[in-house]
C-alpha cells in the first residue's frame, strides 16, 4: 500500500519522526506562549535558555557525574533561577514601555549567552549520551524507533498537558490569567502580582531548559542549537496564536509532522514550509489559529 507515492511504512515512520520534532516545538512554544501571555514579552532569549539547559545537563554529567535524571530536575531549576535574575534585574523595567524593547533586550541576551558558550566550548559541540535505561530501539513494525525518542514524545506531552492544566484549570492559573487582564485589580485583591510574573518567567525559562535536557542526547549539544530552532518556534507561536496555551501545543505537534512530511516530498522546502504556513495564516487569521481576535 502506498500513500502519495511512498510506501505506507515509510509514511508512518515519517509521521512518527515529525511527532518527535513536534514535541520539541510544542514544549518551546508553550514556554514562549506563557511568557507572552502573562508578561507581554516576546522572549527571544528562549533559544538560549534551551541551549543553556542542555549545557547544564552536559556540565553536570561531565564535571559532577550527575546523570540524566538529575539533570532533568537540575537544569530547569538552574535556568529558572537565571530567569528570576533576568526578570528582576532587567525585564521588570520594560513592562510599561513598547514591547519592542523587551524583544531587543532578550535578543541581546541570547547573543551574549551564545557568544560566551561559543568562546568556552567552540561550535562543534559536546556529545551527551542517551541514558542507559532508554538505550536501544523498539521495532514498531513500520519503523525502528529509538526508545529515547519515544520517551521524548511521552515526556513532553506530559509536561505540556500539565502546564495547560495548571493555567486553565487551577486557582493559581486563574490568578495568572486574571493578572494578565487587569494586574491592578488582582493586586487589590491581595495577590502579589510582581512575584507571580517573576515566577511565570522562571517557569517559562525552566520549560525551555527541560526541552534542552530532552534534546541533549538526540542532537549535539552546541551553542548554536537554540538559534537553529528558535525561529521555527516563533513561527509556531505566531501560527497558533500569541498567548494561546493549547494553540501552541497543538500547532507545535502538527507543524512538526508537516515539516517531517515535507522532508520526504520536497526536502529542499523543509526549512521554509513552516514560514509559508505562517504567512498564509497571518493573511487569513492575523491573530493565529487559536488566538482571540482583538
Amino acid at each position: 500500500m502506498e500513500i502519495l507515492g511512498i510506501p505506507l511504512q515509510a509514511f508512518l515512520g515519517q509521521l512518527m519522526l515529525g511527532l518527535v520534532n513536534g514535541s520539541f516545538y510544542a514544549m518551546l512554544s508553550l514556554g514562549l506562549a506563557v511568557i507572552f501571555g502573562l508578561l507581554g514579552i516576546v522572549n527571544f532569549a528562549h533559544g538560549a535558555l534551551y541551549m543553556i539547559g542542555a549545557y547544564v545537563a552536559w556540565m553536570s554529567l561531565e564535571y559532577f557525574g550527575l546523570n540524566y535524571w538529575f539533570a532533568l530536575v537540575l537544569a530547569p531549576l538552574v535556568v529558572g533561577a537565571l530567569g528570576v535574575v533576568i526578570e528582576r534585574t532587567l525585564l521588570k523595567r520594560l513592562y510599561k514601555i513598547d514591547p519592542i524593547y523587551g524583544l531587543l533586550l532578550t535578543f541581546g541576551l541570547a547573543l551574549i549567552a551564545e557568544g560566551v558558550f561559543r568562546d568556552q566550548f567552540g561550535v562543534s559541540g559536546q556529545q551527551y549520551p542517551v541514558p542507559e535505561l532508554l538505550q536501544g530501539a523498539t521495532n514498531l513494525g513500520f519503523m525502528v524507533l529509538p526508545n529515547y525518542r519515544a520517551f521524548v514524545v511521552f515526556a513532553s506531552l506530559l509536561v505540556c498537558l500539565a502546564t495547560w492544566w495548571v493555567i486553565e484549570r487551577t486557582r493559581l492559573g486563574s490568578y495568572l490569567r486574571a493578572g494578565t487582564e487587569n494586574p491592578a485589580l488582582v493586586q487589590a485583591f491581595g495577590v502579589n502580582v510582581p512575584m507571580m510574573v517573576m515566577l511565570t518567567y522562571a517557569a517559562g525559562a525552566g520549560l525551555a531548559a527541560l526541552a534542552g535536557v530532552l534534546a541533549a542526547p538526540v542532537i549535539q549539544v552546541t551553542p548554536l542549537m537554540g538559534s537553529n530552532l528558535i525561529i521555527v518556534v516563533f513561527a509556531v507561536v505566531v501560527i497558533g496564536g500569541m498567548g494561546s496555551i493549547l494553540g501552541s501545543i497543538l500547532t507545535g505537534l502538527v507543524l512538526g509532522i508537516v515539516e517531517g512530511l515535507t522532508k520526504v516530498f520536497y526536502p529542499e522546502a523543509s526549512s521554509v514550509v513552516v514560514f509559508v504556513i505562517m504567512a498564509i495564516v497571518l493573511m487569513i487569521r492575523p491573530a493565529g489559529l487559536f488566538g482571540k481576535e482583538a
Binding site: 515519517q14 518527535v20 567552540g122 562543534s124 559541540g125 556529545q127 542532537i219
Partner: protein, 404 residues
C-alpha cells in the same frame, strides 16, 4: 575588529595612487602589507577555520618576522555568516578602502565563489583555503584564484574510490543544499560510477538542519550499502549521531566525504572508529607537523585542522613571494608563487597549476579505535597517500580556459 578609520583609509588610497603613478619606486603600496581572511567565525564551520585560522595566519606573519623588507604585515578578519553577499561586500570594501593586498577565503564554497569574482575584478590574489568546491579551479577559474588546501574532486578520489574498492558498490547521498554539497555529490558520483558502483538516490537537506532522522530513514529505505554524507561540520556530526541512534549504521556504512578532525574530536572515537576520510593534512604525521601542531595548540588550546594549517601555509608562501619580489603587486607576486615549489609544514613539493590548483599530496585516513589512540587528538591512521596530481582534476576533465 581590525578596521582602520576613514582618514587612514584616505591616506592609504592616496598612497596607493602615489605608488601607482611612480612604478619604479617602492613597490609595497601603503607601506604595509595587508592580508585579510573572511570566513565563518560563529556558525557551523567556526571550529574548522574561524579564529583558529586567524591565529594560524598570525603565526605565518610571526615566522616572517612580522615585516617584509621593513614593511609591516597586518591581518584583517571578518565573519561572513555563510552568506555569499556578505562575503562579497566585505571583500569589496577591504579592496576599495583598506588597501587589502591578498585575501584568504575561509570555509563555505558559496562565499568563496562570490569572493573569487570580486578578487578577479579587483585583480588581487585570492587564496582559497577553507572552501571545497572544485568549480573554483574549473569552470569558474580565474588568474587570481589559487585553491590551496583541498577540493571536492580530491575528496571524491580519496574516500569515494577507497570505499568502492572496499566493496561499497551502491550509494545514497545525503547532501547539504548549496554549492558545496552539490559539487561534492557530483564529484563523488563520477568517481563511484567510474569505479563500477551505482548511485541509487539522494536527498538534499538545508544547511544547519536541526534533525536528520527523517532524511536518514529515506536513505535506509533505498537499501544502498553506503550513505555518502556530502555535508560538513555540525551537519555531519548530527548525521552520524542520528545514524547511530536509529541503527542505520547496522545496515549501511557511512562515508564521511568531508570530515575534519574537529568533528571527530566532538563525536569521540567510539562513535566514529573505522570511518574513512580524506584530508589534506594531519597534525600527527611527522615530527615537523607535530611541532607545528603543538605550537598552535599552545596558543589556541585545540589542535589545528587541515584548514588552519592551510591558512598558515597560504599566508607564509604569499609573504615569501612578496619578499622575493619586494612587491605587493598581484601579478608579480602570483607569478613568483607559480614558479616556486611549495615546501612547508603543510605541503611538500607542492606547486600552483595554471588553473589555480595548488597541487600537493592528499591522505586517505581511517579513524582509530579508542584503544589505539595514544593521546588526545591522536585520531587517524594514514591508510594511503594520494600522490601529487593523482588527487586532483585532470587536464582532460577541466573546463578552465587557463589550462587548455
Amino acid at each position: 575588529m581590525n578596521l582602520k578609520k576613514i582618514p587612514t583609509a584616505c591616506a592609504l588610497a592616496a598612497a596607493a595612487l602615489f605608488t601607482a603613478a611612480t612604478p619604479v619606486q617602492a613597490q609595497i603600496s601603503g607601506d604595509v602589507i595587508k592580508i585579510g581572511i573572511i570566513t565563518d567565525m560563529a556558525g557551523v564551520y567556526g571550529d574548522i577555520d574561524g579564529m583558529g585560522g586567524v591565529e594560524a595566519i598570525r603565526m605565518a606573519i610571526a615566522d616572517m618576522g612580522g615585516a617584509i623588507n621593513g614593511k609591516k604585515v597586518e591581518v584583517l578578519y571578518a565573519e561572513h555568516q555563510n552568506k555569499a553577499d556578505v562575503a562579497a561586500a566585505k571583500a569589496r570594501e577591504w579592496f576599495d578602502t583598506q588597501g587589502l593586498d591578498m585575501l584568504i577565503g575561509g570555509t563555505n564554497s558559496g562565499t568563496a565563489l562570490a569572493m573569487a569574482k570580486v578578487a578577479s575584478e579587483k585583480k588581487k590574489p585570492f587564496l582559497v583555503v577553507g572552501a571545497a568546491s572544485s568549480a573554483l579551479t574549473n569552470d569558474q577559474c580565474s588568474p587570481y584564484t589559487v585553491h590551496w588546501a583541498y577540493d571536492t574532486v580530491a575528496l571524491a578520489k580519496g574516500t569515494g574510490s577507497a570505499v568502492v574498492k572496499a566493496g561499497g558498490k551502491t550509494w545514497y547521498f545525503l547532501t547539504a543544499d548549496y554549492a558545496f554539497g552539490a559539487a561534492l555529490q557530483a564529484d563523488v558520483s563520477t568517481v563511484v560510477k567510474a569505479a563500477g558502483g551505482t548511485v541509487v538516490g539522494s536527498v538534499k537537506h538545508p544547511l544547519s538542519a536541526s534533525d536528520f532522522s527523517s532524511f536518514l530513514l529515506q536513505a535506509q529505505a533505498s537499501k544502498a550499502q553506503i550513505l555518502g554524507m556530502a555535508n560538513a561540520g555540525g551537519d555531519t556530526i548530527n548525521t552520524i549521531k542520528a545514524a547511530n541512534e536509529f541503527g542505520i549504521t547496522k545496515t549501511m556504512k557511512l562515508a564521511g566525504l568531508l570530515v575534519f578532525i574537529n568533528d571527530i574530536h566532538s563525536l569521540g572515537l567510539k562513535t566514529t572508529q573505522g570511518m574513512y576520510l580524506t584530508d589534506s593534512w594531519y597534525w600527527n604525521q611527522s615530527a615537523e607537523t607535530r611541532a607545528w601542531g603543538r605550537r598552535f595548540f599552545e596558543k589556541f588550546k585545540r589542535m589545528p585542522s587541515s584548514v588552519q594549517a592551510g591558512d598558515y601555509s597560504a599566508a607564509l608562501q604569499y609573504l615569501k613571494a612578496v619578499k622575493a619580489t619586494n612587491s605587493d603587486d598581484a601579478d608579480k607576486v602570483l607569478e613568483q608563487m607559480r614558479k616556486t615549489p611549495i615546501n612547508d609544514v603543510f605541503a611538500k613539493g607542492g606547486f600552483i597549476r595554471a588553473d589555480g590548483r595548488m597541487v600537493h599530496d592528499m591522505y586517505l585516513m581511517q579513524v582509530k579505535a579508542p584503544e589505539q589512540s595514544n593521546e588526545p587528538w591522536d585520531y587517524y591512521n594514514v591508510v594511503e597517500t594520494l600522490k601529487g596530481e593523482a588527487a586532483w582534476t585532470t587536464k582532460a576533465d577541466t573546463k578552465c580556459p587557463l589550462w587548455k
